[in-house]
């Protein structure tokens, strides 16, 4: 290691270890110890029970979808905020952070009211709602397609979970991509244009590669946040076992049944999956940084 101008590696490193231990490592170790006291057959039984598997699938699946949606919309929002000057830009910029500040339960209640079958948005998609009417009024649709009933329930389904998770994860991608976009030299776009590249080619082969490391960071943060989210989801999900029950809810249910071992096992599994996924994202990121320059 190269000696730095500012000394104090020992001190800061020691503090880092102590801090991480007290706040992160010891509680997690406790969790695994608790899980380890359970007989192995029971661990396997809990882990492979259909309800647990479904809850994990709902949790990780909807988090993944939400994070991906956030990547796409996060880029667009960051682009608009960085590239264009318009009245109310600062206001919009501030609104992006609201999901951070709002109690997640409030967000969950607001979203479920909005997206419930009788809510403002939910009613549009409900049975015999406006969208349904429009769809069945289309005479040009081939037979069969028009028979397909357009009836989405959003709240109280996994779709609702995804919407809540998109809401809480939005700031991460915007805030990681924004500074990179701000530093992006417009000359690169001009260079691409003089070489004959159209708008789309410039975006895909010049701009997006430069954003990749930041996008991965934003994705990882949004994903991690979504996996751990509880407050907003419980209101909109409906929490139906085997349908819209996320793993954190299952953990709380186990705890309420005084099944601490079961809760610890599910939590342990969640942790391991999340850790592996974040590690993989980090490795991809390190690769992207080498590949696309240190951004």
């Amino acid at each position: 290691m190269k000696p730095s101008v500012i000394p104090g590696f020992g001190l800061t490193f020691g503090y880092t270890i102590l801090y991480l231990s007290l706040i992160v490592l010891i509680p997690i170790a406790g969790l695994f110890l608790k899980a380890a006291t359970t007989p192995i057959e029971q661990i396997i039984r809990i882990a492979t029970s259909p309800r647990t598997l479904k809850a994990l699938e709902v949790s990780f699946g909807s988090s993944l979808i939400a994070a991906l949606v956030n990547v796409v919309f996060g880029i667009i929002v960051a682009w608009v905020l960085v590239r264009y000057k318009f009245p109310g830009r600062r206001l919009l910029d501030a609104i992006v952070d609201l999901p951070f500040a709002l109690p997640t339960a409030v967000a969950g209640i607001a979203l479920s009211t909005l997206y419930a079958p009788k809510g403002w948005v939910g009613s549009l998609f409900s049975d015999k709602g406006p969208l349904w009417q429009w769809w069945h009024g289309q005479t040009w649709l081939p037979f069969g397609l028009s028979e397909f009933s357009l009836n989405f329930k959003i709240a109280y389904t996994p779709t609702g979970i995804v919407i809540a998770l998109i809401f809480i994860g939005l700031p991460f991608v915007v805030r990681t991509v924004q500074p990179v976009l701000e530093e992006f030299e417009q000359e690169l776009e001009e260079a691409a244009a003089t070489l004959g590249a159209n708008r789309w080619q410039t975006i895909t082969s010049v701009i997006l590669p430069r954003l990749t490391p930041a996008l991965l960071t934003g994705f990882a943060l949004a994903f991690a946040r979504a996996v751990g989210e509880y407050g907003s989801v419980i209101f909109i999900a409906g929490n139906l076992p085997n349908i819209s029950e996320i793993a954190p809810v299952l953990i709380v249910i186990k705890l309420e049944e005084f099944d601490q071992a079961g809760a610890a096992v599910i939590a342990g599994i969640m942790l391991i999956i999340a850790f592996v996924m974040l590690l993989v994202i980090n490795l991809i990121q390190a690769w992207a940084r080498r590949r696309f320059g240190n951004v």
Partner: protein
């Protein structure tokens, strides 16, 4: 491909950056746009490229009106001061980018693209570096990659915006010579922007001297250096000294004394005399400019002295042989060998 700029005007939020500029560039010519910052030279270059659209006026490539065409359609090679290389691509990918983004109908086959890119890499003397990334190259090498990338699309004109501005003096001189060679070999009509007059004088077939959004003078390096047509050009190109004079009886006068310079064609009245510090002769007798040495310093093989001339507020500079005995306070009489007089407006 010759370029014709026809009374082009460009305003940025009502502030005119270019004022009705007209210019003709002949095919295969190497032209320098030279001027201080804010003179509009880069704006003119960007207008030719299509990176900016003129407020009024038109730009022709050959007989074809290019004004309404987009950058992509104009097919120009553009080199930026800060290289603007794509750092997520290797050197080879950077150079072949312009060919790869072509629509399928006009895109050469893969092997052909690679062959051409490798050829250009040889041309810019970077053979063997095709797998490197731009970050792994020196400034001079990066700019050569940028040039190869611009040449790859077989541009109709080559435009360079202060191409050597970010490089150190040594590399700059090398690249200058090398750009001239490439130009002579490929024969592209080339326009480059610079604020370095030495670069412009050495490199260009013709110079376009610009100031405050206008063209001051267009001409060969000899024209512009030896026959500047305005006080601005005289003082901007090369070194110059100037003093206020008056024209009377077809002669120049300073402080009520004739200084031995005829002015047969200049109108009588107040004027300004311009000459180059190295273009003077020392005289012992006869009418001449005379002054007292107030400062002197050694510049290379000569001695540059500052003279105070008979109560004038401006000091003038002239060059003396380095072994000239003139010291502080000595009196020196001299006459410019070549000079220009511009009436004071």
């Amino acid at each position: 491909m010759d370029i014709r700029v026809d009374t082009v005007r460009k305003e940025f939020s009502h502030y005119p950056a270019l004022n009705d500029v007209s210019l003709e560039v002949k095919s295969s010519e190497l032209i320098a746009l030279l001027g201080p910052s804010g003179s509009g030279k880069t704006t003119l270059l960007r207008l030719i490229a299509g990176l900016e659209m003129p407020t009024a006026g038109r730009i022709f490539f050959g007989d074809e009106d290019a004004s309404s065409k987009t950058v992509q359609e104009r097919n120009v090679g553009f080199v930026f001061q800060a290289y603007a290389l794509f750092r997520n691509m290797t050197v080879l990918d950077n150079i072949s980018f312009g060919l790869k983004v072509r629509p399928r109908a006009t895109r050469p086959p893969k092997a052909e693209i690679r062959r051409r890119a490798m050829e250009l890499l040889e041309l810019v003397q970077l053979g063997g570096l095709e797998k490197r990334f731009p970050q792994q190259l020196s400034g001079g090498q990066r700019q050569r990659v940028a040039l190869a990338r611009a040449l790859a699309i077989e541009p109709r004109v080559l435009l360079l915006d202060e191409p050597f501005g970010a490089l150190d003096a040594q590399v700059r001189k090398e690249l200058r010579k090398w750009l001239r060679e490439i130009h002579d070999r490929t024969g592209h009509t080339t326009v480059f922007v610079t604020h370095d007059q030495e670069e412009a004088l050495e490199l260009a077939d013709r110079l376009v001297v610009m100031s405050q959004g206008k063209i001051e003078q267009v001409g060969t390096p000899d024209d512009v250096y030896d026959r500047p047509n305005s006080p601005f050009v005289f003082s901007f190109i090369g070194e110059s000294s100037s003093i206020p004079v008056s024209v009377e009886n077809h002669e120049l006068w300073v402080g009520g004394r004739a200084i031995g310079l005829p002015a047969p064609n200049d109108a009588a009245g107040a004027a300004k005399l311009f000459f180059r510090p190295h273009d003077v002769e020392l005289v012992d007798d006869g009418a001449a400019l005379a002054g007292v040495v107030v400062a002197s310093r050694r510049v290379g093989g000569t001695r540059r002295v500052e003279l105070e001339i008979g109560g004038l507020p401006e000091r003038v500079e002239i060059d003396l042989p380095f072994d000239h005995p003139a010291g502080e306070k000595s009196r020196i009489a001299f006459r410019p060998k070549r000079w220009r007089v511009f009436p004071q407006g």
